[in-house]
């Protein structure tokens, strides 16, 4: 491992910002959302307002999450090559090769870890799926919110879904997808940490500062 490493600015500020806003929002939304579905804290006196606050925090975090997703969506059109749709959606032969290489690596069929300056093809595909799940959570969440909030915003963001799906079905999948996103977050942190320790390319630090350290061979 003697190849010279280059310092590359991979993650621009909006990418890092939306990443951390998402982290805070997902944790907040999961805790408050779980409480709303299964109120595990019980008020002793009627003067308390636990469910009221949980719902308020959930709704505020939901709006913050929507804004974050919109910014990231926009940045996928105007950001650098690592932030764009092209880096996320596998469409080149190199990405497909990389994708199957990564799957082989994670299934212990290969010793070559996936490696890229930006997202690996495997990570890009997973993020696209997660992004779709985010959009589902937003639409289904606002569909449920529209029952008590009769504004145009919640109507557009999800109110229309109540005419398509039964409310209880919306509620069930809004709840279940939370677990899928949390499972993703656990795997996401583990894989980041694992690749960091394996490749020593500063991948874990890069989401704070934006820079990764790469050897020449990753350049296309």
């Amino acid at each position: 491992m003697s190849a010279e490493r280059k310092r590359v600015y991979a993650w621009e500020f909006p990418v890092r910002l939306t990443h951390w806003v998402n982290v805070v929002c997902i944790l907040t939304l999961s805790v408050t959302g779980y409480y709303i579905g299964n109120p595990f804290i019980h008020a002793i006196s009627s003067r308390e307002y636990i469910m009221g606050w949980m719902r308020f925090v959930h709704f505020v975090a939901a709006y913050a999450f929507v804004c974050s997703v919109i910014i990231r969506f926009y940045w996928a059109f105007v950001g650098n090559r690592y932030a764009r749709w092209g880096a996320l959606i596998p469409h080149t032969s190199r990405q497909w090769k990389d994708l199957f290489g990564a799957i082989k690596f994670y299934l212990f069929l290969s010793r070559k870890p996936p490696y890229a300056v930006g997202h690996t093809a495997f990570a890009g595909l997973v993020y696209i799926i997660i992004f779709i799940l985010y959009i589902w959570q937003i639409i289904s969440g606002f569909a449920l919110y529209s029952l008590s909030d009769h504004t145009w915003a919640s109507g557009i963001l999800g109110g229309w879904l109540t005419g398509v799906m039964h409310l209880q079905t919306i509620r069930l999948y809004h709840h279940l997808v939370m677990y899928v996103i949390l499972a993703f977050a656990i795997a996401h942190i583990y894989i980041g940490w694992y690749l960091d320790s394996k490749e020593r390319n500063g991948i874990m630090g890069s989401i704070f500062g934006g820079y990764k350290f790469v050897t020449g061979k990753e350049w296309e």
Partner: protein, 367 residues
């Protein structure tokens, strides 16, 4: 809709005359008009307008059809306990045909229906109770040798207005629950294109039937409906948002077990699977049995009986969330989620151990 259909030009009793002949005072009559204004979510200033309409207009002729039902809506109609309202409900309508309460039977009974359809075309109101089976040519529900679908098509097409009372007539209800062996549907699905006022509920609140007809008599039109054909005055608001126990929900005070301290204190039934947050109806306002009580008031959660497909979709009635598809009935959403997290954790541990072993091997071979 013919505005003047009930106008009393040709003799016959008006609603008010009937009530007066039955011994009601003018005060009782005005009380009823004010109550109707309140049920219709109109300001009290509309009560005189309702009174005027009821004084002048002829009693509407009504035929009440029953198909796949339990007569629960009929029971709700008849069990109005306070005598004034019972009389009001029965006397305001000129019920020409109603299998359960009419004296005539057999061919005589069927003849009275035929007479209405023939002689009062476009002037009577049809109330339908119960779902209509469509499978196998509709053989699963026949009245007087005719399939329900044939009767409902003929009677409703000549009616001034059709009101579907109860969840079965509105959406198919319990007969339409999976696997729906008879192919049961509600009136609006049985006759596509027919304008139907849906008054779902199991049973319907009688006040909502009366208010719908009073609206029709007063304004000459049906009340404004939502996209499911339900009048907004009765189905525009969620039960949860008008619930008498709502303050306990916001505070975080929940019943956790039947008969526990919270249950005795009248706390929120959310954790016991109350479906008030997904059900639209005015139950908390008008209640049942002359405003005596309603399910949540009596300490039992709402089961969402007024919503489409409630038997399939609102179940289990005592849990917040439905069962995830493809799992055993004892699995709840949380168990599935916990299982998913456990699988993820296990995969990571296995992967980590696998890599440590593989990494060790690799280093050895490199040496």
């Amino acid at each position: 809709m013919g505005r003047g259909a009930f106008h009393d030009d040709s003799g016959g009793e008006t609603v008010y005359e009937t009530l007066r002949n039955r011994g009601l005072t003018r005060r009782d009559f005005l009380t009823f008009c004010t109550m109707m204004a309140a049920t219709l979510a109109l300001p009290a200033s509309f009560a005189p307008r309702i009174a005027e309409a009821l004084e002048k207009k002829k009693k509407p002729t009504v035929v009440w059809l029953e198909f796949q039902d339990c007569a629960g809506n009929t029971e709700a109609l008849l069990r109005a306990s306070a005598p004034t309202v019972k009389e009001l409900v029965l006397d305001i309508l000129n019920v020409e045909y109603h299998e359960t309460i009419m004296a005539a039977a057999g061919h005589q009974a069927e003849k009275s229906l035929e007479d209405v359809v023939k002689n009062l075309k476009g002037q009577y109101i049809t109330i339908v109770e119960g779902s209509i089976p469509l499978k196998d040519g509709g053989v699963y529900c026949c009245v007087g040798g005719r399939a329900a679908i044939d009767i409902v098509k003929e009677v409703c097409s000549g009616a001034l207005a059709t009101i579907a009372v109860g969840t079965c007539a509105a959406y198919g209800g319990i007969p339409a629950a999976a696997p729906n062996p008879t192919g049961a549907v509600g009136v609006s699905d049985a006759i596509p294109g027919l304008k139907v006022v849906n008054l779902p509920g199991c049973p319907v609140n009688v006040e909502n039937i009366t208010a719908t007809i009073v609206h029709f008599l007063t304004f000459g039109s049906l009340p404004s409906l939502d996209k499911l054909g339900r009048p907004l005055f009765a189905y525009g608001k969620r039960i949860h948002d008008n619930c008498e126990r709502r303050a306990h929900f916001d505070a975080g005070q929940f019943v956790r077990q039947w008969g526990d301290e919270g249950h005795r204190q009248g706390w929120c039934l959310y954790e016991m699977g109350c479906k008030g947050p997904e059900t639209f109806k005015n139950c908390p306002r008008i209640k049942y049995n002359e405003g005596t009580s309603w399910p949540v008031g009596a300490g039992h959660g709402c089961i969402g009986c007024a919503e489409p497909a409630f038997w399939d979709k609102m179940a289990p009635f005592y849990r917040r969330l439905p069962q995830p598809p493809g799992f055993g009935v004892e699995k709840t959403a949380d168990k599935v989620g916990a299982g998913l997290a456990a699988v993820t954790g296990a995969a990571i541990v296995a992967h980590g151990i696998g890599r440590v072993i593989a990494g060790g091997k690799k280093e050895k071979t490199e040496e």
